[in-house]
């Protein structure tokens, strides 16, 4: 009885969250136990009929024959599948305009662009994405810094998982600029930065020698690039073409940068390079690219994730929310399986690997003790096209329930009441059979088209 009432309380609480009535406060203090028909922890083998215990928003235990704490709220998902929330290692959606028009804006932050109330954010939650790295787009050289967020909250502050994560460098020349000019610009920026830091050090030394006060503050507009230089930030380097991957590596070596390659669809040719360097990569949402074989005049289908996997490159998958076929991370993973990648690797590429890439593997990406309790309760297997996200828990809180998802219902059902049935015998009845009305009908009896004019 106690349990039942607590359960009801959780549901009521969850409903309140879904309705978005209250602001988010500190993590829920209660214990929650999720009884799952199947647990896909990602970090280990699947568990049939398992239990996940959540305390203070974190996973306290995962296993098969666990005792459900007497004081835990129980979520009964005995006929459902539970897995960690999807993680997306790179997105510029949901920000309106994802780029400044200026080439060098390392100081802007996606934090100021993320819209918690965007349809994209809502869709992300609905589709089971619980964590993502929002980062400026690929249209400028030094695009700005990213922010790791969860997908539920009323304000950006509530969304924050970790601020100041990753800096976007795009190797895509803008407009009619050339790659030469683009890279030269980067090198010039770095040289200027070195000069600035040198002068800063000189001024500091002079001040110390003269025992004068010294303003320690660095130019805040340069701070992200200084942090990049010092290895405190990773560069998410967008490489539109395979040859840009080579450039990305050159820059990484030249300036001792930590980089994460964000690959354009044609970068599959860089698989060997990436493998040799042991770097994981973020793949484009287009998993298949076509290449024309000029000799045979055939079109060759290149399956990018398969090429990467065969080369031994770990990768994270992305969505393209504007494309009907690539809107879902589960579907991207399912396509990987279709193309011959193991189910385990495919699921990792939308959970654990992206978590590793954004440096949050200690918090998200798998169901392990101590990690954030970001759980998807699914109606079936994650890769089954008929499976829906039934509930989403983020940090132990139920943030989404399909039963209460009014927008989803609207998306799937009719928007406007159907027109009233016209009474039988109405002249709008579909003309059927008989001879063509046009034939033999006197022309002068025909109604001329309204507004008809002689051309």
């Amino acid at each position: 009885m106690v349990r039942a009432s607590r359960c009801a309380a959780v549901i009521a609480l969850a409903a309140a969250w879904v309705a978005g009535t209250g602001a988010q406060d500190a993590p829920v203090r209660e214990k929650i136990a999720v009884k799952a028909g199947k647990i896909i922890p990602i970090s280990g083998p699947d568990i049939e009929n398992g239990i996940i215990v959540i305390q203070d928003g974190r996973i306290a235990a995962v296993g098969k024959d666990l005792e459900v704490p007497w004081d835990a709220n129980v979520i009964d998902a005995a006929d459902k599948v539970v897995m960690p929330g999807y993680v997306e290692a790179h997105t510029s959606s949901g920000m309106g305009t994802p780029n400044e028009r200026v080439l060098e804006v390392p100081f802007v932050s996606a934090k100021d662009g993320v819209d918690p109330k965007s349809v994209f954010m809502e869709d992300s939650l609905r589709d089971g994405v619980t964590t993502m790295l929002a980062i400026p787009g690929n249209d400028t050289l030094l695009g700005g810094t990213g922010v790791a967020i969860k997908t539920f909250g009323l304000t950006v502050e509530e969304l924050l998982v970790r601020d100041y994560t990753g800096l976007k460098i795009s190797l895509q020349p803008r407009g009619d600029s050339s790659r030469m000019a683009h890279l030269a610009r980067f090198r010039k920026y770095m040289a200027d930065l070195d000069r600035y830091l040198g002068e800063y050090a000189d001024r500091k030394a002079d001040a110390e020698a003269a025992k004068k006060p010294f303003d320690e503050e660095l130019d805040p507009q340069k701070q992200p690039m200084i942090d990049l230089k010092n290895g405190l930030l990773s560069a998410f380097v967008y490489c539109p073409e395979a040859s840009d991957v080579v450039k990305a590596f050159e820059l990484a070596d030249e300036y001792k940068l930590k980089i994460v390659p964000v690959l354009g669809p044609r970068c599959y040719k860089a698989a060997g390079l990436l493998a040799r360097r042991g770097l994981p990569a973020i793949l484009d949402s287009a998993l298949v690219v076509w290449e024309t074989n000029e000799d045979t005049e055939t079109e060759e289908m290149k399956v990018v994730p398969k090429i990467m996997a065969d080369a031994g490159v770990k990768f994270a998958l992305q969505r393209d929310p504007n494309n009907y076929e690539t809107r879902y991370l589960w579907m991207a993973a399912a396509r990987c399986v279709a193309y011959g990648i193991s189910r385990e690797e495919a699921l990792k590429s939308v959970t654990l690997y992206p978590a590793e890439i954004i440096g949050l593997a200690d918090r998200v990406g798998s169901l392990e003790v101590g990690k954030d309790a970001n759980l998807l309760i699914l109606t079936g297997d994650p890769l089954d096209a008929q499976t829906w996200v039934d509930q989403v828990l983020i940090e132990g809180k139920v943030c989404y329930r399909r039963a209460e998802d009014e927008r989803l219902k609207r998306l799937l059902e009719e928007r406007k009441p159907p027109p009233e049935e016209k009474p039988p015998g109405d002249e709008a009845k579909p003309p059927e059979g008989g001879e063509a009305p046009a034939e033999g009908a006197p022309a002068d009896k025909e109604k001329p088209p309204a507004g008809k004019a002689e051309p």
């Binding site: 079109e299 289908m301 504007n322 096209a385 034939e439 025909e446 008809k452």
Partner: protein, 416 residues
């Protein structure tokens, strides 16, 4: 025949491909764990026997003829080749004759590039038949053609010439007409129309002119003949449109001119009028599908889409097919099937949307869209269920010849 031998033979067939001269492998047996014929219940395990490019037998309990090439996909599913009911790619030059707005006698067949890279991609996506339609730049755009995605000659790929009168409503045909384009001395711009009103005006004017001529028994120009055929109900009128308002206008025109055979194409907002569309017995070729508008035309004319457009139309009783439309190239139709089914289109209807329904609407059901003796041997062999995203196209057979084999990566288009 041992599996290894079968494999060798299968590779041989691939190398020969659907082009090239007739070979000893004119008898082909395709064995699979599941066979979806679209005319009867699915078969669990069986063989499709193909001779001279046609299906001759489907079943479980017959001996495979000596010398037949064998293709076997363990755990695979065989289904009829997919049909893209409204493709707007694989052209040489422009898909419209833009020197006039009303071009009823325009035959897009003459603009089709059967050697185009788009078709070579389409076949690898499991698409074996396409209805290629004229572009959207004219009010009355002319007729399309139904072709196979692969074949050694023009005759071998042609399934049906003409077969409809394409009308374009909405703003597509008004683009660029509002201001004179700078051009050469002979430039024909200004073009009409410039508004949606103007589109309907030009359409009705053309229909009225021919209707009047028919009434008076006047001689028809070749260009008017196609309109006359449509007025007589011999040729279906396909109206490409987006907004629900245009669907209503289309029905008004249909009533005014007594058009008996109408097909709605594109139609992302048709779901709002699904009952009326069903009541009139008008089929719909849906596509391109989108969750959120991607172009300004989609945003201005049909921003309000349902993910379950196809399901809602089908539920009301509308015959629904899928067509890639003005997306600029072939689309992964199977992904569309998977998603429309996910959003509410029943399994059978989702499969029919790219097979039987498409064939029916296009008037080519006697040849394609289902697997039955006498039908063209156009098959897709999938690694799993067609309604799962975890399945992929493994082999494609067009006119009885292997046109694509994912195992070898070979595609037939290289031969010619």
């Amino acid at each position: 025949m041992s599996r290894m031998a079968a494999g060798v033979l299968a590779v041989g067939v691939t190398a020969l491909a659907c082009a090239g001269p007739a070979s000893a492998a004119d008898v082909l047996a395709v064995k699979a764990a599941h066979i979806i014929t679209m005319v009867g219940p699915p078969l669990d395990g069986g063989t499709v026997l193909i001779r001279d490019g046609k299906v001759v037998r489907i079943g479980r309990d017959f001996a495979i003829p000596e010398g037949a090439a064998l293709i076997e996909v363990e755990g695979g599913t065989v289904m009829p080749g997919l049909i893209d009911a409204n493709a707007m790619f694989a052209f040489r030059g422009e898909p419209n004759e833009e020197s006039e707005e009303i071009t009823p006698d325009f035959e897009v067949l003459q603009a089709i590039d059967r050697d185009s890279p788009d078709l070579k991609r389409a076949v690898q996506l499991g698409i074996t038949t396409l209805r290629v339609a004229p572009g959207n730049a004219n009010v009355i755009a002319g007729s399309g053609a139904v072709i196979k995605s692969c074949g050694p000659s023009l005759e071998s790929v042609l399934v049906k010439e003409g077969g409809q009168l394409k009308v374009v409503m909405g703003n597509d045909s008004t683009g660029g007409n509002a201001t004179p384009r700078s051009g050469r001395p002979t430039s024909f711009y200004y073009r009409q129309p410039t508004t949606r009103m103007g589109v309907v005006w030009l359409l009705r004017q053309a229909l009225f002119r021919v209707k009047t001529a028919l009434g008076k028994g006047e001689a028809l120009t070749p260009s008017d003949t196609a309109i006359a055929e449509a007025l007589k109900g011999k040729l279906p009128v396909e109206i490409s449109l987006r907004s629900a308002v245009d669907v209503e206008t289309a029905f008004e025109v249909m009533d005014e001119f007594g058009l008996r055979r109408l097909v709605l194409v594109g139609c992302p907002e048709g779901y709002k009028l699904s009952r009326e569309i069903a009541r009139r017995g008008v089929p719909v070729i849906l596509g391109p599908l989108y969750a959120y508008p991607r172009t300004w035309r989609e945003a201005s004319e049909a921003p309000d889409v349902s993910l379950n457009s196809a399901g809602l139309l089908a539920q009301a009783g509308v015959k629904v097919a899928l067509g890639s439309g003005d997306g600029g190239g072939p689309v992964d139709l199977l992904a569309w099937v998977v998603l429309t089914h996910r959003y509410g289109l029943p399994r059978e209807a989702a499969l029919a949307a790219v097979t039987t329904n498409a064939a029916d609407i296009l008037g080519v059901a006697d040849r394609v869209g289902s697997l039955a003796p006498g039908k063209d041997a156009d098959l897709v062999i999938l690694t799993g269920d067609p309604l799962q995203a975890t399945s992929r196209v493994d082999k494609v057979i067009v006119n009885g010849r292997v046109a694509y084999d994912a195992q070898s990566g070979a595609s037939a288009h290289g031969e010619g």
